[in-house]
Amino acid sequence: MEHIFTHFPNGKREDLIPILQVIQDEKGFLSEETIDAVGKYLRISTNKIYGVATFYDNFRFGPVGRYHFRLCQGTACHVAGASTLQKELEKLLKVHAGETDKSGLFSLEVASCLGACGLAPLVEVNDEFYTNITLESLKELVRMIREKENETL
């Protein structure tokens, strides 16, 4: 991780969150080893770093699934029925919001306002957006993904 630390030569407390963000962008999540290394570099207790990282929603401590679902739960999406869809999606993917399933196939994240309120409800799957979704279209989407995954097995 030296290559990351060279971008933050002063190694100050205010660099903590940017460093963690760069690490997560590169490695996908924050592990114990990475947090230890950051702690040594910035001379901050790892307990404090963990405390800062767990405060914010964006930091993850385990990898996301091969298919990462981001379901929007903004006000307009909620009004369009996104809350019910969340429950159904959790059942379909067999995973709770904020978690990755055991096989590493699916993970689900709840976002607030992806920025397309007129196309509510919507879900993002690995950078692809699916708008005006319904329970049916979600079922179909998940079915297609599972089929594709089974093919490649």
Partner: protein, 566 residues
């Protein structure tokens, strides 16, 4: 700048810019607080100290609101009372209802607040907080279910001890106090000082109990349980019971413990004297050899300080004195020398230290203090545990008779009592050093206290032509800052530093009865001073028992055990 403010329709004097809470408390207004800590900057987290200030739409927290000339404050309006009560009710809504089974029953700040606020019903129903208690550490037990997130433990661990073994994790209602990745305290950077226990308002932080194993040993007829009571523990018990130095608390404790089934009860004072003599001896050698590499010599009887150095400042390790702490000197002596003299098998002796320290529990587990799996000190009871033990057996010290502690460890010098507070050990070691180095000189020992205790606490002792510098610090923050200052200023005039991890030294130890603020440590220190006056001897080497042993068995390294095994 002096000014006047109106509180509950009464004018009181105050100072511009000070916190409203300070002003109110100074004039006798009772304001409840939870997250507030004296000498720490206010966080405004608990909101219990809210008051009404004219001109402010909402209630304000008096801890963080500055006094302004002419402000009008109400501390007991309906709004304020209702708010405070609701806040406590909210805290209680998910707090486990374990009072009857809880160790802090009767001494819990949350209980006290509920009483003060006149909480009469369970207003808000919520799921009880549950969490996995952490008993992994040797010294500090954590029960996060009882935590009210007041932040006091986090702040003391971070700001005073510079360790941050625990911190807030997650957010909102999910917030917990824990270490990284929720691992046990034993694998975190915790230095086992127990200052967090001292500041915790509930039973979320407690000491790891050795009571059970002591009670088991007492009930085991094969074992001879030998209690060794440290002088600072004696002072602490004296203070708590409201006694004076002349009230012979040690003798009462001896009688009480004997009633419990103790085989022997000893005064740790002699071991303390041996310890001081040894440490002064090391210091003398360092000075004689002009050993700049190990200068300044630093005390190592505080296990938290030793742990801190091992984890955070390994370069300081060579400076630590290699002397066993008094408790382990006593334990070693009992299991070898004493056992042999009295024809008892060493493994049948169960040694119990009574100290105001939770880190001693950690020290007892160190590899270098155990021999083939047997520790020199089998159990360590804090003053708190001692009281629980006495209570559970219905023993009341106030009505106890007096019994002399067992021979030969009955009395101590004044030096032993000096170890009970910050600065005392430095003076005791200085006095011993003076005796070692003065030779035939007739000069008198002088230990001049610094003019102000607020700045650096250090002094120079004249021994013949030499000036030997002694310093003392308590709390890791002070130790760190002092070491940094010495390095930055390039000073080499300090030869010995007494380092105690607890604020105020052992007088503020993690195992002391829990109290807020600095009053109690001060009272204990004063009692130590009074007890010094009643001690049999003045300096450590005047202790005939100690001097005798010292002549026979120097304690450098583990020579005692080697001899025992021969």
């Amino acid at each position: 700048m002096e000014c006047k403010i109106e509180v509950n329709n009464k004018m009181i004097p105050a100072r511009e810019g000070e916190s409203l809470l300070e002003a109110l408390r100074e004039h006798g207004f009772k304001i409840p607080t939870l997250c507030h800590m004296n000498r720490f900057s206010p966080t405004g987290a608990c909101r219990l100290c809210v008051v009404e200030v004219e001109g402010m739409k909402d209630l304000v927290t008096s801890c963080s609101y500055p006094v302004k000339d002419g402000m009008k404050v109400k501390t007991n309006s309906q709004r304020v009372i209702k708010a405070r009560k609701s806040l406590v009710e909210l805290l209680l809504s998910n707090h486990p209802d374990d009072c009857l089974y809880c160790q802090r029953n009767g001494h819990c700040e949350l209980q006290w607040l509920a009483g003060e606020m006149n909480v009469k019903e369970r207003k808000y129903f919520a799921g009880k907080l549950t969490d996995n208690p952490d008993y992994s550490s040797t010294s500090v037990a954590r029960d996060p279910a009882k935590c009210v997130l007041c932040s006091r433990c986090v702040r003391i661990c971070e700001e005073v001890q510079r360790v941050t073994a625990i911190d807030f994790i997650s957010r909102g209602n999910e917030t917990k106090v824990n270490s990284a990745f929720r691992k046990g305290l034993n694998v975190s950077s915790c230095i086992q000082c127990g200052q967090c226990i001292q500041v915790c308002p509930t039973a979320a932080l407690l000491d790891i109990s050795h009571l059970e194993k002591v009670q088991a040993a007492l009930g085991n007829h094969k074992k001879q349980v030998m209690f060794v009571i440290s002088p600072s523990a004696i002072a602490s018990v004296t203070e708590l019971m409201g006694f004076k130095a002349k009230d012979k608390v040690l003798e009462r404790l001896t009688a009480a413990l004997k009633r419990l089934g103790a085989g022997k009860v000893f005064n740790m004072g002699t071991a303390a004297d041996i310890h001081v003599m040894e440490e002064a001896g090391q210091l003398a050698e360092m000075l004689k050899n002009k050993d700049k590499e190990h200068q300044p010599l630093m005390s190592s009887c505080c296990p938290s300080w030793v742990r801190y150095v091992s984890v955070f400042r390994p370069k300081v390790l060579p400076h630590l004195a290699s002397v066993k702490s008094p408790g382990h000197i006593a334990g070693s002596l009992l299991k070898t020398d004493y056992a042999r003299e009295h024809g008892i098998a060493g493994e049948n002796i169960y040694t119990v230290s009574i100290t105001p320290c939770v880190a001693k529990k950690y020290e007892a587990s160190w590899e270098k203090n155990t021999h083939q799996g047997v520790s020199e000190v089998d159990a360590v009871l804090t003053v708190r545990e001692l009281f629980r033990l006495l209570r559970s057996f219905g023993l009341n010290l106030a009505q106890m008779e007096e019994e002399a502690p067992d021979s030969p460890y009955q009395q101590s010098s004044a030096a032993a009592y000096k170890l009970g507070y910050s600065g005392g050990k430095a003076e005791a070691v200085a006095r011993e050093l003076f005796r070692i180095m003065k030779g035939n000189s007739k000069e008198k020992f002088r230990f001049l206290q610094p003019k102000s205790m607020a700045g650096k606490r250090e002094t120079q002792v004249t021994i013949g032509k030499k000036q030997v510098g002694f310093a003392w610090v308590s709390s890791i923050a002070e130790a760190e800052d002092y070491l940094d200052a010495l390095r930055e200023e390039g000073r080499d005039d300090i030869h010995y530093i007494e380092v105690m991890a607890c604020l105020g030294g052992c007088a503020g130890g993690g195992g002391q009865p829990i109290s807020r603020g600095f009053d109690k440590p001060k009272a204990r220190k004063k009692l130590c001073g009074d007890m010094e006056k009643t001690a049999t001897w003045q300096s450590a080497s005047e202790n005939t028992v100690a001097a005798d042993f010292f002549a026979r068995i120097p304690f450098r390294g583990n020579k005692l055990w080697e001899q025992a095994n021969k």
